[in-house]
């Protein structure tokens, strides 16, 4: 690959996912190039995590295509998927650590199961990865014995244990203190800039998003639920003319996404729709 035209790592086209009659993802298209940090933003329940689940292959879309490293994943067999997944790491929202194993064993798991390295080296890598997320010395604790934020960081250490080419992070900094947030952000930036890892991060944290993101998409709410309402570099998003995007990145309580229902609607919802039919009040 030449320096000017970077390799496309993820290509999502016209992704649609319906759960019953509800459309959760409605025609999502974007590409992520090597070395990018793609930020996926949007209100709670707008389908960010669902989108991520489709990209990692846990869910199959209703229609549309997802290509990772040029390979179509929506029609892939489980065996092919297993092979492809060796090239990426996923940091789950709540860590998703195995409760029966210690912190150290959790980080070592992908190494032991997917590579044939010496136990001494596994031990060394585990220490290195835990050091990266600021958890030196926690190897022998069980996930139940550490805090939620720490579990999340162990999840990140496990996700990068095999030095993946592609890292997915589901809200990596929610619930972390400001210093730890900065540490995790710095780590993500180091991984993408120095090791040319590609990252896809779902986040609510605006400061962190604009710090680490090189590309962003914003998913809409209400009428535009499950659609991309803004797409581009952090500057594009910051200068977006879309009022909903502005409301979102500034964190304003009222705007295109209403704070409360209009008074008439509110009474309708409270009393059901038949208030003319003899409900006296």
């Amino acid at each position: 690959m030449s320096e000017t035209k970077r390799e496309t790592v993820i290509e999502v086209r016209d992704l649609v996912r319906k759960f019953g009659s509800r459309t959760v993802l409605n025609g999502i298209s974007f590409t992520v190039e090597k070395g990018d940090t793609m930020i996926i933003m949007g209100g709670s329940g707008c389908g960010k995590s669902t989108l991520l689940r489709h990209i990692i292959g846990s869910l199959r879309p209703t229609s549309g295509s997802i290509k990772i490293f040029g390979e179509e994943t929506t029609t892939m067999s489980p065996q092919q998927m297993e092979k492809l997944r060796l090239r990426f790491g996923m940091n789950f929202q709540f860590g998703a650590l195995l409760q029966s194993l210690t912190v150290g064993e959790n980080v070592a798991l992908p190494l032991i199961e997917n590579s044939k390295v010496d136990p001494a080296i596994v031990d060394l890598v585990v220490k290195m990865k835990l050091e990266l997320v600021g958890l030196t010395g926690f190897e022998n604790l069980k996930p139940a014995e550490i805090s939620g934020g720490m579990r999340k960081r162990v999840g990140l250490a496990r996700a990068v244990a095999l030095d993946p080419e592609l890292l997915f992070s589901d809200e990596p900094t929610s619930g972390l203190d400001p210093i730890m947030t900065a540490v995790i952000d710095q780590l993500t930036m180091d991984l993408t800039q120095k090791l040319h890892m590609t990252a896809v991060v779902v986040t609510h944290d605006m400061a962190s998003a604009f710090r680490i993101g090189t590309k962003m998409i914003v998913l809409g709410a209400g009428k535009r639920a499950g659609m991309i309402i803004a797409h581009g570099t952090p500057d594009d998003i910051r200068n977006s003319p879309d009022p909903e995007v502005q409301q979102f990145i500034r964190g304003e309580p009222d705007g295109p996404v209403p704070l409360k229902l209009a008074p008439e609607d509110y009474i309708d919802r409270l009393l059901g729709h038949d208030r003319d039919k003899g409900l006296s009040y």
Partner: protein, 254 residues
């Protein structure tokens, strides 16, 4: 019907990871995981299995001697014990103990892992959950349930011996001789076959119920209850079928 198909698929996957994958250069089922499960399912169930079968041995001998005394045949109590324990009660009751202790635990554990995204995390790490979680439990159960049944047989006989020796006029030597005389190889084979089949059914049904959990902590509870009920029902029905098969194979005993 969908559940039956899932059950068969799960079996095929377990067979694949146990017997095919090691020769296809794929990662294998971890031996240490199997031993860990064997301790949990087998060794730790020993006290409970012992208490259960001791009580059953005692009860059987007492009830049997009551009935047989009317015909003046109390010396046949050991015969009654050996046949009922070896063929029916030891496999069934050990099965019930294992369903209650380990079957429910397997469903609850896998179910909790499912709802806390741990299973999904394993898949994303390219670690097959069937190989990593299900196969060790199934293998361990298929090995350990027959072991527990053999153990239960012995303890059941001890229970019978207590009654025969202290309440009836059958001394230890006579008791042992009558046991050996009355039991034939087919009794043991029939009981052991059952225990293998039960071990397989209990473990696979429990794992399948665990992996099928949806909907948080409530879902885990619901699935665990359903799985225990299903295991017991399936075990009783299959027990009747197997007894019927042995009945046909051997013909009515004369």
């Amino acid at each position: 019907m969908a559940a039956l198909r899932q059950f068969l698929t799960l079996n095929a996957q377990i067979l694949y990871w146990t017997f095919v994958a090691p020769f296809a250069g794929k990662p294998t089922v971890r031996i240490d995981a199997i031993f860990q499960q064997m301790v949990r399912i087998g060794v730790q169930a020993v006290p409970m299995a012992a208490l259960t079968s001791l009580s059953i041995g005692l009860t059987l001998a007492m009830q049997g001697s009551h009935e047989l005394a009317r015909m003046g045949a109390t010396s046949y109590v050991p015969d009654l014990l050996s046949i009922t324990l070896l063929r029916e009660l030891a496999p069934l009751l050990t099965g019930v103990v294992v369903i209650g202790r380990s079957g429910s635990a397997i469903t609850a554990e896998l179910g909790t892992m499912k709802v806390s995204e741990e299973i999904e995390a394993l898949e994303v790490m390219s670690i097959n959950p069937i190989r990593f979680l299900v196969a060790p439990r199934v293998i361990a159960m298929i090995i350990m349930l027959p072991c527990l049944v053999v153990f239960s047989n012995y303890i059941g006989f001890v229970g019978g011996w207590i009654i025969c020796n202290f309440a009836l006029d059958i001394n230890t030597t006579k008791y042992i001789m009558r046991l050996i005389e009355s039991a034939d190889m087919m009794d043991l084979i029939s009981g052991m076959t059952k225990s293998f089949v039960f071990g397989w059914l209990i473990s696979v049904i429990s794992c399948q119920s665990g992996l099928a959990v949806t909907g948080g902590a409530e879902g885990v509870g619901r699935s665990t209850t359903k799985s225990v009920v299903l295991c017991i029902l399936v075990m009783l029905v299959v027990n009747a079928i197997l007894t019927g098969m042995f009945f046909i194979i051997e013909g009515p005993k004369g």
